[in-house]
């Protein structure tokens, strides 16, 4: 554990100096600030808009940081040849990879705490300026506990994205790795819906059509034989990030169940572990 900790500590020191981190954090703060404006011009509850938008910004910019720093993390070690003096020591390659992963996760955790603090400040400000200031903001207007849970799930989502960045980063160039990881993140946002469409919605529609004698002519039904296995493949290979999307429930209610939170955390940990194991297998075959 000592070696992994040392590598993680070193990665933390290295990544905390990465300018990309600060650029993304700055834009995240700007976006959150903009959420106040969106709140003011929105028709519904402006406080809900600010909360929802802030959490979405945290998720998106957390993933961006994971992609841009994580994708080049391994390559930088190889490119700058700093890896030579590490791998030639009694350090196993999986220890190196895990150390890098945990170090980056620690940096992102810290960055997200910073972004969370900014987001809380904006939400508190929005609550304070809300139409009915007589209602105490710390109790009824904002569910702060659930807000923290939503944040925790975003961190688990980031954990998955970092593991993918490490996986792609250990076998491809930083640019390709960033593209693959970001694509996986985007597809992961909708993979559950795609899966639902081809495993539940289209079959149900076909069943109704059979009963009514209707002939289905839409593209999804026509290409069902091809799209179903494809959607299943995408669903099982790429992460299903809907497990971590609790912000609507947190902001609008009803609040997420304990089972939902636990399943999400378990899925995040399991997926990250699987991606890291694959990364270790591929990294182990690498020649420097």
């Amino acid at each position: 554990m000592g070696k992994i900790f040392q590598i993680a500590k070193n990665t933390f020191r290295e990544s905390i100096r990465d300018k990309v981190l600060y650029v993304i954090a700055f834009f995240a703060a700007v976006m959150m600030l903009a959420s106040l404006a969106f709140g003011w011009i929105s028709i519904g509850d402006q406080l809900q808009v600010v909360q929802d938008f802030s959490l979405a910004v945290l998720s998106f910019f957390g993933a961006l940081m994971a992609v841009f720093i994580g994708a080049g993390l391994i390559h930088k070690e190889i490119d700058k040849r700093t890896i030579y003096t590490i791998i030639s020591k009694p350090v196993q390659r999986w220890q190196f990879l895990l150390g890098k992963y945990l170090g980056l996760l620690a940096v992102l955790g810290l960055a997200m705490i910073g972004m969370l603090a900014a987001s809380l400040a904006f939400v508190a400000y929005a609550a304070w300026t809300a139409k009915n200031p007589a209602i105490p903001i710390w109790t009824e207007r904002v569910a702060w506990g659930w807000y923290a849970v939503a944040m925790l799930m975003i961190f688990f989502e980031t954990m998955v994205v970092v593991s993918l960045a490490m996986l792609f980063g250990s076998v491809t160039s930083p640019i390709l790795s960033a593209i693959f990881t970001f694509t996986a993140y985007l597809v992961g946002q909708v993979s559950a819906s795609i899966n639902y469409m081809f495993t539940t919605f289209v079959p149900a529609k076909e069943s109704v059509a059979r009963q009514t004698g209707e002939i289905l002519t839409d593209l999804a039904s026509q290409l069902y034989f091809l799209l179903k296995p494809l959607s299943l493949l995408i669903y099982y290979l790429l992460p299903d990030l809907s497990y971590f999307q609790l912000r609507n429930q947190v902001v609008l209610g009803p609040p997420p169940t304990g089972e939902q939170i636990f399943t999400g955390m378990l899925y995040g940990a399991g997926y990250s572990l699987a991606a890291l194991i694959l990364a270790v297998i591929l990294f182990d075959r690498k020649r420097f």
Partner: protein, 319 residues
């Protein structure tokens, strides 16, 4: 692990690689056999691209061979415990620039399982050894190449390995830097370590190595002590002097293998003693004799003779 096993034993080591899957495989090493005994300073000699770095990377666990075997003190290099017994310095070592020399050595010490209580005195000792005590708390981005090279040696020996492997340790250094690194190697050897280092700077190998191996295009050309490798016979006899007139100079130059005029001194090289004696006689009678010496084969001559070229590229990826 056998207690009598040599420091390095390489048998039939072969390594091929493919840059792209559509390209033909290239052979970086072919059936290499090499033994480095304990307590030696062993020079690994070859032109750029000959396969030196590939061999060293396999020994350091950075690459895996495609054939043959390599052992360190009787333990196959594929086993991680083998790396506890080696200290490795890559060519032009790179470090985390935001760390200081002290922080850097602390990091490497921890990777070698050195307990925290031992690390601090050991780091002080190492910084003294490589002459970086004054620069211990300076960030590495401000280090010169020579300082990085010396830090490279320090990180390699942080865990007191019995075998130190250095890849081109003198590469790119000025004469002072080279001398410092050479001295560090000699000091390490005096401390009981076996040293294996690659170089294409022949004079360095000639100066400090007990034995050397010559590799060319991934194949071992020769190995042995320098006395065994180099031709003991005189290659040429050099005669030098002054005060000869143009006619006498031209007559001697016609019989000499090489003729050189340097700051008023006339230098002639002869392939046999008979011609050399004639030149000595001419100088004694008509001028002033200033030089008479025999030239034996140097490692550079041997290198040229054995490889038939001067450091061309072989197409292999690593050195």
């Amino acid at each position: 692990m056998r207690s009598e096993a040599p420091a390095i034993a390489i048998r039939g080591l072969t390594h091929s690689y493919q840059r792209n899957f559509w390209e033909k495989r290239r052979l970086a090493l072919e059936n290499l056999d090499l033994t480095v005994d304990r307590g030696e300073i062993y020079g690994f000699l070859g032109a750029n691209g000959a396969g030196k770095t590939t061999t060293i990377k396999i020994l350091a666990g950075l690459q895996r061979q495609t054939g043959g075997r390599a052992e360190i003190f009787g333990v196959p290099v594929s086993r991680p415990e083998c790396r506890r017994r080696i200290g490795f310095m890559p060519e032009n070592p790179y470090f985390y620039e935001y760390l200081t020399a002290r922080e850097s050595l602390d990091f490497y010490g921890a990777l070698c399982d050195l307990p925290g209580s031992e690390r601090s005195p050991r780091i002080g000792e190492l910084l003294e050894f490589v002459g970086l005590a004054q620069a211990a708390d300076i960030r590495l981005k401000e280090f010169s190449k020579g300082m990085r090279q010396r830090l490279g040696i320090a990180q390699a020996i942080v865990h007191r390995p019995p075998l130190v492997i250095l890849d081109e340790p003198m590469s790119g250094l000025d004469p002072i830097g080279r001398r410092q690194v050479r001295q560090a190697i000699l000091d390490l050897h005096a401390g009981g370590a076996t040293i294996f280092f690659s170089s294409h700077i022949l004079s360095d190998i000639e100066m400090i190595c007990h034995r050397a191996a010559l590799i060319d295009r991934g194949r071992l050309v020769a190995d042995g002590s320098l006395a065994e490798l180099l031709d003991p016979r005189e290659l040429e006899i050099e005669v030098g002097g002054t005060n000869l007139d143009a006619g006498q100079t031209a007559a001697l130059a016609a019989t000499a293998g090489r003729f050189l005029r340097r700051e008023g001194e006339l230098l002639f090289s002869f392939g046999d003693w008979e011609a050399a004696y004639r030149a000595v006689d001419v100088f004694r009678r008509h001028g002033r004799l200033t030089l008479l010496r025999t030239v034996k084969e140097s490692l550079e001559d041997y290198f040229m003779r054995s490889t038939g070229k001067a450091g061309d590229e072989t197409g292999a990826r690593d050195g």
